[in-house]
Every structure is written in C-alpha cells, then in structure tokens.
Subunit: 197 residues, 2 copies
C-alpha cells in the first residue's frame, strides 16, 4: 500500500501500472489484482488509507484554549505532511478523471473532519454563512500551504504553523466585522472549552 501510494504520488495515475506497483511492493501482479481488483480500486484504496491516517492524527486533544488546540492540530497535520509527503500530495492531487467521484469524496471527507474539529474547538454548532466560508477557506489555505511547503521547503515548519494560526485569528477578526454572530467566536479562541458561559 505504501509502495502504491508513493508511485501514485510521483506519477500520473495513468502512467502507473499494476506491474509497477507489484514490483515496488515485492509482490506478484496476481496478488495485487487479488487484493484490489484493479488499478483504479488500488488507487482509491491507497488514498483512503492516507486519509484515514490523517484523520487519526487529527483526533481532538482535550484541555487548553481553542487557539492552542488549533495550533496542536496544525502541528499534527504537518507531522503527517512531513512523514507522508507522497501520501499527502497524492491525496490532494486527486485522480485525473475522477475528481468528483470517490477520490473527491475522500478529500472532502478529510475537509469535513477538519471543519468539524475546528467548530468543536470554537464551541460553535451552527456556523453563519460568513463563518462557514471563512473556515472552509482557511482549510484550503492550510492545504495549499502544505503543498507549497513540500515544493519549496524555504520556511521553517514552526514558522509556517504560526503563520497559519495567526491567519486564522486575523480571518476570524474579519468575519466578526462582517457578521455579528461570527464575532462572538473570536474572544473565545483564547479560552478553554470549559470556560464558556
């Protein structure tokens, strides 16, 4: 599976054959077919495995303020980006002819999970439209920053993580000016979940 993910991340899915995967994994072509059924199935299985590992890492940790929780979540996110550069890139690049299908669903699943985690940290159950689009945009920013970092590696990881946390605080400030309801979220970022009235 790791071998498949590495191959799919480095090459267009069209250019990777089951034989390539079997060779890289030290398995027979028949075995790969037996377990996965075909290349598209193998590709989707590899992406799903990467997505599950990422989601495991993003399980919320109790205690601390929302902003500390966000910073800790980002660190775990970038741990994944660094440990599984190939998997992360494969997950976000998606498949050539399958953008809205299974691959798109996997990527959207990770985004929904992140969105929910942040909402929980902020103790918000129903986001306003402005807050919703702000959080979705920030998640897109984090993905883009992750890919940019893998390409360039010219920013220290802690610096990049602080930048993204500061961006979130600034974006929530903008949201609060546009939207009275979203404004309630900003001050609470500095409080622990138990401190809310």
């Amino acid at each position: 599976m790791a071998a498949a993910l590495e191959l799919f991340s480095k090459h267009d899915a069209e250019d990777v054959s089951i034989d390539d995967v079997a060779t890289a994994a030290g398995a027979s072509r028949a075995l790969v077919y037996h377990y996965f059924g075909g290349k598209q199935e193998l590709y989707v299985a590899a992406l799903r495995s990467a997505a599950e590992e990422l989601q495991d890492r993003l399980r919320p940790v109790n205690g601390g303020t929302a902003i500390e929780g966000l910073a800790a979540g980002l660190t775990r996110y970038f741990d994944f980006v660094e440990d599984h550069a190939a998997g992360f890139a494969a997950l976000l690049r998606g498949g050539p002819a399958n953008r809205a299908g299974e691959v798109g669903e996997i990527v959207e699943g990770v985004r929904r999970r992140l969105f929910k985690m942040i909402m929980n940290q902020m103790q918000v159950s129903e986001p306003t439209p402005v807050l919703r689009t702000t959080l979705r945009s920030w998640i897109a920013s984090v993905e883009t920053a992750g890919l940019d970092w893998l390409e360039s590696r010219d920013i220290e990881r802690p610096t990049l993580e602080r930048l993204l946390v500061d961006q979130m605080v600034a974006l929530l400030g903008v949201a609060s000016r546009h939207d009275g309801l979203a404004g309630g979220s900003l001050p609470e970022l500095g409080r622990g979940p138990g401190e809310l009235g």
Copy 2:
C-alpha cells in the same frame, strides 16, 4: 463546447459519453470525434476553454489603487463564477489543491495568472516565501469561497467579495508581522501603481 462543459460539470467524466455530448450539442457523434478525437480530449478542451475565458476576464485594468484593482479583479472573477457556474465547478472540482495531469496544469495556469496579477498590482517582483505562501493561500481561499457560494448562495455576492478583499488585507498584515519584507506591501495597497517611490 458549452454543452460538453455543462455535462462534465454535472456528472463524473466517467459517466458522460460522446453520445451524450453529441446529443446535447445537436451534433453527430462522428463530428464530435472528428473535432476532439476522444472523450478525454474533449474534456480537457472544454476545461481549457473555460480557463481561457476566465483569464481573459482577469486582464489587468490600469488606474486605481492596488486594493481597488484587487476588488475589481474579484468582481470579474465572480462574474465568471456566476455566468459559468458549470464551467467553474468543472475546472475546480476535486478541490483547490488539485494538480496532476493536463487538468491540473490548466487549473495551475489560472492560479499562476492570478498570482502574477496580484504581484503586479502590489509592485512586487520577487515575493518572500511568507508572501508567496500567503498569496497562494488567498487564491485557494477565493476558489473555495466561489465553490461554497455556488453550493449555498446564502451570502450576497458584493458581501462575499468585500469579505475576500478584507481577508487579503488582514492576511498581508499577518505576513508583514512575520516577514519584514512583506510588510512593505501592505501600505502600498492603498496607493496607485504610479505613486511608488
């Protein structure tokens, strides 16, 4: 071409046949094959045509401050999103970080164009790493906000455009605190291109 784009935007590319496209376009299957060669080619041609129209709309307009230029560019961007909801979704479906193969190249081309346009507006030729990742992240935010808006339509377009401009100003403020060089860009947003020393 419009018919193809509409179909590809509403369905998985796998579920759209050349016959569907021919029927929707009122043309014969043979004619569609003659012009495009095959479904993947047709798909890529449809996306490329959408991307070219978007880039045409984003040609810079002279005069005004950088922030006015940015706001005007966003309005033209969302004009495209609104006029060609199907094309926009087809272009970006799979997510803001999608980049493999021909489709990825088309999407990346639009992003590079946007990036260059913003850099020109800001009179910056070589971005620092912090500014580069900030601008790329903001572009991802704009794409995500566009898709979110098409899905929900619960924010007025002018409100959303102002939100995104305000986000850019806030993000440049964050970048300036992280990065002395990027800080120079923020005050210049309010000036016209000719007013820089």
